[in-house]
Amino acid sequence: MADTSDIKKGFKMLLDGVPYAVVDHQFVKPGKGQAFIRTRIKNMMTGAVIDRTFKSGEKLEKADTEERTMQYLYPEGEARVFMDTQSYEQLSLSNEQLGDNVNYLLDGTEVDVMLFEGRPIDVTPPTFVELEVTETEPGFKGDTSSNTTKPATLETGLQVNVPLFVNAGDKLKIDTRTGEYVERVKG
């Protein structure tokens, strides 16, 4: 059993059966009074961030979570199948669970999968991925500096705004944290 002295950034605890990760925390002790730990914690299932204050010394239940590196294999109905790169064990996550992250999955992409009580609850893709443009208006030759952009569709279905010089068939570097175009990759 853990207690409030174990709280630090990233500490994972179980509250009412839901795993939370500590985002921020502060020890507070009003003069002559009871000490508390004020925390900001993130619901690992929904991503919602809430404030919660614990009495100093309060017992906490550690959340049984683990992060594993897995490789994306293929789609299967409304889900995607991944394989543990160490144990070769396979598991699937629904497209709904994956959310926007489905847009960054190519055959063989390595992702970090968060498991809670053995079940996958979240996926973190690489910070940058390289995706090919499948559809966009033809580029204007020589225009490499303009601030003007146009929409493009990438091989995973992701829509991004790209500079005018980008053509179908180009490979683009995408920041998965923002879903935005970073640069064209020399192919």
Binding site: F27, V28, G31, Q34, T53
Partner: protein
């Protein structure tokens, strides 16, 4: 082997030294004498939420505790006839860790006799102003006098509740205080919070209005000091100590002895007096606009 150069830390340590020098100058100009009292004491303080480090001799026998504040011995000096005393010393508190807490920290305590808590609040305002000017950190919001508000005022203003409504049990009082009230105290300029519930009187006397004669100053949500119009009644003091010991026992907390020589001092006669304890690291942090007291120290636990 030498650590990498850290000019920013060295500048902070110069400022710390200047603050300590300014504090000593402030009290010297007001005819206070600087005193030193022991670090290892027979009772580390009985406030129910304080936890002390026990000290053992080489044979493993307990010889006392590290003082959580020099309060009892400073007050014994008043009982011996001292009129104006101050001390800059390390104080030690177990199980306190955070941006505003460190297991050992620098405490400034001073006492005046005869005096009231109003005299000590005026000292506090003047001291902070003097220190800020000495360090070149003066800003107009430090100008005395600082706004005063009662605990009830503070709860009404920041939590929309009255002290009577909140004080159903102490835990809910402190939870609301910690979450809703204290973070908002002293947002623009330091404030002094007075009239604490009598159940939180600690070593303060009770005022004619029934509240504890206790005050705390806050700046940017940080508690800077805690002062009392001192309780001088030995019988009442022993009653409170016994009550604190019972509270500790019921909570499964360590039960420290009563400092009998302190009680004897009160029996012989303690003058009408007032005292204040101020966190020097926190004052330095606030004057520097730093994020933590650890950043004002050479070697906080995390870098020790």
């Amino acid at each position: 082997m030498s650590a990498p150069a850290d000019p920013a830390l060295l500048r902070t340590l110069e400022t710390r030294a200047a603050l300590l020098a300014a504090i000593r100058r402030f009290f010297a100009e007001r005819d206070f004498i600087e005193v030193e009292t022991p670090t290892v004491v027979p009772s580390p303080g009985l406030d129910p939420h304080l936890r002390a480090f026990e000290v053992r001799d080489p044979a493993g026998r307990s010889v006392g505790w590290l003082a959580t504040s020099p309060e009892y011995q400073m007050k014994r000096l008043l009982c011996m006839g001292a009129k104006r005393v101050f001390q800059l010393c390390r104080s030690y508190r177990a199980e306190e860790y955070g941006r505003h807490h460190e297991r050992e920290f620098t405490m400034l305590e001073w006492y005046r006799a005869p005096a009231t808590s109003d005299d000590l609040i005026a000292d506090t305002e003047a001291l902070v102003a003097f220190a800020a000017k000495s360090l070149g950190k003066w800003t107009p919001e430090l100008e005395p006098p600082w706004p005063r508000l009662s605990v009830d005022d503070a709860l009404r203003a920041h939590a929309d509740r009255t002290v009577d409504a909140v004080l159903v049990d102490e835990e809910s009082f402190f939870r609301i205080w910690a979450e809703e009230v204290q973070p908002r105290l002293g947002a623009d300029r330091p404030v002094v919070v007075t009239d604490w519930p009598r159940s939180m009187a600690s070593l303060a006397r009770i005022k004619p209005n029934g509240c504890a004669d206790r005050f705390e100053a806050f700046f940017h949500g940080v508690e800077l000091c805690n002062g009392f119009g001192e309780l001088t009644d030995a019988v009442e003091q022993r009653r409170r100590f016994e009550h604190d010991r019972a509270t500790r026992k019921a909570a499964g907390a360590p039960v420290y002895p009563i400092d009998e020589r302190f009680i004897e001092g009160l029996q012989r006669g303690m003058p009408e007096s007032a005292g204040n304890a101020l966190g020097v690291d926190r004052l330095l942090m606030l004057l520097l606009g730093a994020e933590s007291i650890q950043s004002t120290m050479a070697f906080p636990v995390e870098r020790l």
